[in-house]
C-alpha cells in the first residue's frame, strides 16, 4: 500500500498533465471539421504504421496462400480478356461498337491493397488500407474483394494509408440493382447484423425473390460488383416499395487483400453533377 502511494505520488503530475492535454486536444479536434479531419488523418497514419508492423508478421506467414489466390486471379482475368477479344474480332462488330466496348472497360484502374486494421463491432466501422495518396489512391474510390464483391468506399487518405467506410457503417449508402431484372435500389446498413445489409426503395414491380443477386450501381465502380443476395423481403407500410435484406457477398470479418477501384472519369462526372446542382 505504501509503495502504491509512493508510486502515485511520483507519477500524478504526469497523469494530470496527460489528462488535461488530451482534454484540450479533444476540444480543439472537435471544434471544426478541418481540425477533426487533420487529426483523424494524423492518428490514422500513426495508428496505421503501428498496426502495419504487427500485421506484416501475420502476412509473411500467409504469403503462399496470397500468391496462390493472386496467380489464380491473374490467370482468370487473362482468360477473360483473351476470350473477350477473340469474341469481339470474330463477331466482326463495326468500329462504333468496338469503340464502345473498349471505352466501357478502360476507364477503371485497380490498385491492390492490404487491410492494415479494421473494426466490425461498431455502428460506424472503418477499414484502414496500406495504400495512400502516394500510390494514387484518393477519396471516393471504390473498394472490392478480388472476387468482385463490394467492400466500401475510400473516405480519407493520408500519404501512405487510406480509410475506407465499409458497408458495415450506418452512414454508408450506395446505389444497387437486381441483376435479374435491372430494378434499382438503395443499399444501406441498419447496424444490426454484420452479415446483412438492407436494399430499400425497390420498386413494387421488381418482384424480388430469395436468392436474387444484387449488384452495385454507382459511377465509382464498374458493373458486375456483387453486394449480396436477397434473403428476405417485404412491402413497406405504405405498400409503395419493397425492402429486402441482403446477405453480404464479401466476408467482411476476414478481409485481407482488396482492390481499390479508380474511375478515371469520376472527376468529370462529379463536376457535371455539381454544375447541375448549382
Amino acid at each position: 500500500m505504501h509503495r502504491l502511494v509512493e508510486f502515485i505520488k511520483r507519477i500524478y503530475v504526469l497523469v494530470v498533465f496527460l489528462l488535461l492535454e488530451v482534454g484540450a486536444l479533444w476540444s480543439y479536434a472537435t471544434s471544426s471539421s478541418y481540425a477533426e479531419a487533420k487529426i483523424l488523418s494524423r492518428t490514422t497514419a500513426v495508428g496505421g504504421a503501428v498496426s502495419g508492423v504487427i500485421t506484416d508478421v501475420g502476412h509473411f506467414f500467409s504469403l503462399p496462400e496470397v500468391n496462390r489466390r493472386l496467380t489464380a486471379r491473374v490467370a482468370e482475368l487473362n482468360e477473360e480478356l483473351e476470350s473477350a477479344e477473340a469474341l469481339l474480332y470474330a463477331s466482326g462488330l463495326d468500329t462504333t461498337a468496338m469503340a464502345m466496348f473498349e471505352d466501357s472497360n478502360h476507364h477503371f484502374r485497380y490498385h491492390p491493397a492490404r487491410v492494415v486494421s479494421m473494426t466490425t463491432n461498431r455502428k460506424k466501422n472503418i477499414i484502414v488500407l496500406d495504400r495512400g495518396t502516394i500510390d494514387g489512391v484518393a477519396r471516393d474510390m471504390g473498394v472490392i474483394t478480388p472476387d468482385n464483391e463490394l467492400v466500401g468506399y475510400v473516405v480519407s487518405c493520408s500519404e501512405h494509408y487510406a480509410v475506407v467506410m465499409p458497408m458495415l457503417n450506418i452512414d454508408f449508402s450506395t446505389g444497387g440493382r437486381i441483376v435479374e431484372n435491372d430494378h434499382v435500389c438503395v443499399i444501406r446498413w441498419t447496424g444490426e447484423s454484420r452479415f446483412e445489409v438492407e436494399a430499400v426503395e425497390l420498386s413494387i414491380y421488381s418482384e424480388p425473390k430469395r436468392g436474387m443477386e444484387v449488384e452495385v450501381r454507382s459511377e465509382r465502380l464498374p458493373s458486375g460488383i456483387t453486394v449480396g443476395t436477397i434473403e428476405e423481403y417485404e412491402l413497406n407500410s405504405a405498400k409503395s416499395a419493397y425492402t429486402a435484406t441482403l446477405r453480404i457477398a464479401a466476408d467482411m470479418a476476414t478481409l485481407d487483400n482488396v482492390l481499390i477501384v479508380e474511375n478515371t472519369h469520376y472527376g468529370e462526372i462529379e463536376e457535371l453533377i455539381k454544375q447541375v446542382e448549382n
Partner: protein
C-alpha cells in the same frame, strides 16, 4: 506575498496585451508574435510543477475563451509547464537546488536567461503553429512562421523579462 501579487499583475498585463493588442496585429502571415506564454516561462522555477500546470490551464482557458482557440492555447501551454525545468537544464545547465536562497531566474546571467526564454518561446511557437496547421504541405511557410515569430516574440519579450525580474521580483 508582494512577489505573488507581482506575478498576478504580470499575468493580467500580458493577457490584456495579447488579447487586445498582439492578436489584433496583422503584420504578415508568417509573423505572429505572442507573449502570453511568458506567464508560464517566468513563474518561479522553485514552484511545484502541479501549480505551474494549474496556472497554465487557467491562462490557456482564458485565452481559448477570449480568442476562440477551442483548446489550442491550452494544449500548447500545458507542455511548457512540464518541460520548463528540462529546457532550463538543457540550455543553461542550471537547476533548482535545495539550499537556494533567492529565485533561480533572478540569479541567472543575462545570456543564460535569454537562451532559456528564447528556447521556451521556440518550443511554444513550434507546438502552436504546427498544431494550428497540422500539415506539412506548406512546410517552408510553417518553418518561416515559427522562426520569424519566435524571433519577434523574443525581441518584444526581452525588455519585459528584464524589467520584471530585475526591478519587480528581485
Amino acid at each position: 506575498m508582494f512577489k505573488n501579487i507581482s506575478y498576478f499583475w504580470l499575468t493580467l498585463a500580458l493577457l490584456v496585451a495579447e488579447i487586445f493588442i498582439l492578436d489584433q496585429l496583422s503584420i504578415a502571415m508568417w509573423l505572429r508574435p505572442m507573449l502570453f506564454q511568458l506567464i508560464v516561462i517566468l513563474l518561479p522555477m522553485e514552484w511545484r510543477t502541479i501549480w505551474v500546470l494549474v496556472v497554465s490551464l487557467v491562462v490557456g482557458v482564458v485565452m481559448d475563451v477570449s480568442l476562440g482557440g477551442a483548446g489550442l492555447y491550452t494544449a500548447t501551454l500545458l507542455p511548457l509547464a512540464v518541460v520548463r525545468r528540462t529546457v532550463m537544464y538543457l540550455t543553461t545547465r542550471r537547476s533548482v537546488e535545495p539550499g537556494d536562497q533567492s529565485p533561480l531566474l533572478t540569479r541567472m546571467s543575462q545570456r543564460q536567461l535569454m537562451i532559456y526564454v528564447g528556447a521556451m518561446i521556440f518550443v511554444h511557437h513550434l507546438l502552436f503553429f504546427w498544431l494550428e496547421t497540422m500539415s506539412m504541405v506548406s512546410l517552408w511557410h510553417l518553418v518561416a512562421t515559427i522562426i520569424m515569430s519566435t524571433l519577434l516574440s523574443v525581441v518584444i519579450a526581452w525588455p519585459i523579462v528584464r524589467l520584471f525580474l530585475s526591478k519587480i521580483v528581485r
